[in-house]
């Protein structure tokens, strides 16, 4: 099998067996990135020199028998994570020239584990988007069909892993930004429990929702990487001080007796009939493995999108106030006075969708509107969280589709923001309730991948990965590579 056809776990075994070196591995992927860039635009920056230097260090460690499980494995980082000495743009003109002075905790941990960073992946500006069309650096395209979007906001990471430009990538998920693109390009993605992975050095969008995770080919790969990323970080005040489970160690547990709840509201109108069929086929695999299915209703879930589009813009309007044209980032030419400097630097530095969300947030937090919008949204959020916690009294995991349809055309939803927002209808609930959730490939419709979503109670990451791995032992959807990228 070609190098790029292997999973992270298989590559780790190959490095140990000296079938190839970390430098050879990095070179293979760097060549693939370069060749793909005109078509996919998955990367904002490629860090070839640093990658080869890190790979040489990894090869020395492997040779000396001092390697850890991830030593020498190449990965890509979403350009939302600060990387010391490397440009970190967050997909924005505002940070086009920003060189991060420190590493995000996620980056530092994966570096310490011996991984080799290939580059920084393209994304929706400040992670605000569901199609990767809001990036200042141009849209990312779907490797299954370049006239379609890869989803967003972690669209560059998703396209990179799907086209095997990197065996794995980091991502962030505020309303579905790992799971939705993972589904639309046919890979595995996990958003852990809120507070499980440190947000230090991860550029903030909506702080009560943001969480870092991974995009990989398989659940096994996700378990390896997440295990190295998760854990308490005193530098993030929302980081939870709880031990990290042995994700890889739990993968092979049998699924006999697993109680699966089917989210009634997710199989309602709006779900494409062919997508539904693929999801139901995956559910049948679980039944064959000894799981039981029952329907579960979360009556407040349909309000998750409107609740999110109050809470997330409110938090973004506050978080993005730091971009003032004074301390870092873009500054306008010849400001007349301080107010002009603020307004033009921000007006010119931010793109249309970011400005839309800042203004929405400013409005819903402003005097006279706070109670009607923000407070009401936080109450609805509580109702949604209660719905989930009631459901988890009856079932171990919840399942449903990740997205209503397969990938859509570039430009199809850019004229109406509400239509675009509704693309996240199945993913937002987990963020509002702080729950772990993942998407795994479960088949194709018209040559395009479909994702199955699996959600669990707080800190059930090991269970989710175990359940996802169970499906991947029985199916090979996660092994499919887009036709143009097989060789």
């Amino acid at each position: 099998m070609s190098l790029h056809g292997k999973t992270l776990a298989e590559l780790a075994a190959g490095l140990r067996a000296k079938e190839f070196s970390s430098v050879e591995l990095a070179q293979t992927y760097l060549r693939r990135i370069e060749a793909s860039q005109p078509e996919l635009n998955a990367f904002v920056s490629v860090t070839e020199e640093q990658a080869l230097a890190a790979a040489r260090v990894a090869d020395a460690a492997l040779g000396a028998g001092k390697a850890g499980p991830l030593t020498g494995l190449p990965i890509a980082h979403k350009d939302i994570f600060c990387t010391e000495g490397v440009r970190t743009t967050c997909g924005s003109r505002m940070l086009d020239n920003f060189v991060a002075p420190y590493d995000a905790t996620v980056v530092a941990k994966l570096k310490a584990a011996g991984t080799v960073m290939l580059g920084k992946t393209n994304m929706d500006e400040f992670a605000m988007g569901s199609s990767n069309e809001t990036s200042y650096f141009g849209p990312v395209r779907n490797p299954w069909n370049p006239s379609l979007v890869p989803g967003g906001s972690s669209g560059g990471s998703a396209a990179a892993v799907a086209a095997r430009l990197a065996p794995a990538a980091t991502g962030t998920d505020t309303g579905g930004s790992i799971r939705q693109p993972a589904a639309l390009v046919g890979i595995t993605g996990i958003k852990p429990t809120y507070g499980r992975v440190s947000r230090y050095g991860m550029i903030a969008f909506a702080s009560s929702l943001d969480q870092a995770g991974v995009l990989t080919a398989s659940a096994h790969d996700a378990a390896l990487l997440l295990g190295a990323m998760a854990g308490f970080d005193p530098r993030d005040s929302t980081s939870v001080d709880a031990p990290v489970q042995d994700y890889a160690g739990e993968l092979e547990k049998p699924l006999t007796g697993l109680r699966i709840g089917l989210l009634k509201e997710f199989f309602d109108k709006g779900l494409d009939a062919h997508n539904e069929q693929r999801v139901r086929e995956a559910l049948a695999v679980y039944e064959k493995l000894g799981a039981t299915l029952c329907e579960v209703s979360l009556p407040n879930l349909p309000l998750s999108v409107p609740a999110y589009y109050v809470v997330a813009p409110a938090e973004c309007s506050s978080n993005l106030a730091r971009f003032d044209g004074v301390r870092y980032g873009y500054r306008c030419e010849n400001p007349r006075d301080l107010m002009d400097l603020y307004k033009r630097s921000r007006g010119e530095g931010f793109g249309a969708e970011v400005k839309r969300r800042i203004m929405t947030g400013t409005y819903v937090l402003s005097a006279g509107y706070y109670d009607a919008y923000y407070l009401q949204a936080q109450k609805v959020r509580q109702l949604i969280a209660q719905d989930f916690s009631n459901a988890f009294k009856q079932v171990d995991v919840l399942m449903g589709p990740t997205t209503p349809t397969t990938a859509f055309e570039l430009g199809a939803k850019t004229s109406d923001p509400v239509t675009m927002y509704l693309n996240d209808i199945y993913t937002i609930g987990a963020n509002l309730a702080g729950l772990p959730a993942m998407s795994v490939p479960c088949g194709f419709v018209g040559g395009l991948p479909v994702g199955l979503q699996i959600m669990g109670p707080h800190f059930a990451e090991a269970k989710l990965l175990n359940v996802a791995h169970g499906l991947q032992r029985e199916t090979d959807w996660h092994r499919r590579i887009p036709p143009g990228y097989e060789k």
Binding site: T193, P234, Y328, T362, A372, L383, A385
Partner: protein
């Protein structure tokens, strides 16, 4: 509910965003439709519901002792600033 052009200008001012003439009608349309959409929240019965304060039940933001934990890295941080002089950030004159 439809926002007026004056409301858009007032929101943009509060958010410290300079909008050009063509942006105002576009944001008027899209913000109005977003507010109409999120207005669906009013249908929920929330009289006795406490607003969510933290996504994890029972948890609040952790406190830390007020101690010096970081070293001075001013030069490194100011390398990203648009304009600095003698270790100070430069902005247009504020006081006449």
């Amino acid at each position: 509910m439809a926002l007026t052009p004056e409301q858009i200008e007032s929101i943009a001012h509060l958010a410290r965003l300079k909008l050009n003439e063509t942006e105002i009608p576009a944001y008027r349309r899209s913000l109005s439709s977003i507010l109409e959409f999120v207005g669906e929240l009013n249908a929920a019965a929330t009289q006795d519901v406490a607003p969510m304060a933290h996504p994890l039940p029972g948890l609040t933001q952790r406190m830390r002792p007020d101690e010096v934990a970081e070293t001075d890295r001013r030069e490194l941080y100011q390398a990203n600033a648009p304009q600095v002089e003698a270790g100070l950030y430069l902005v247009p004159k504020v006081i006449e």
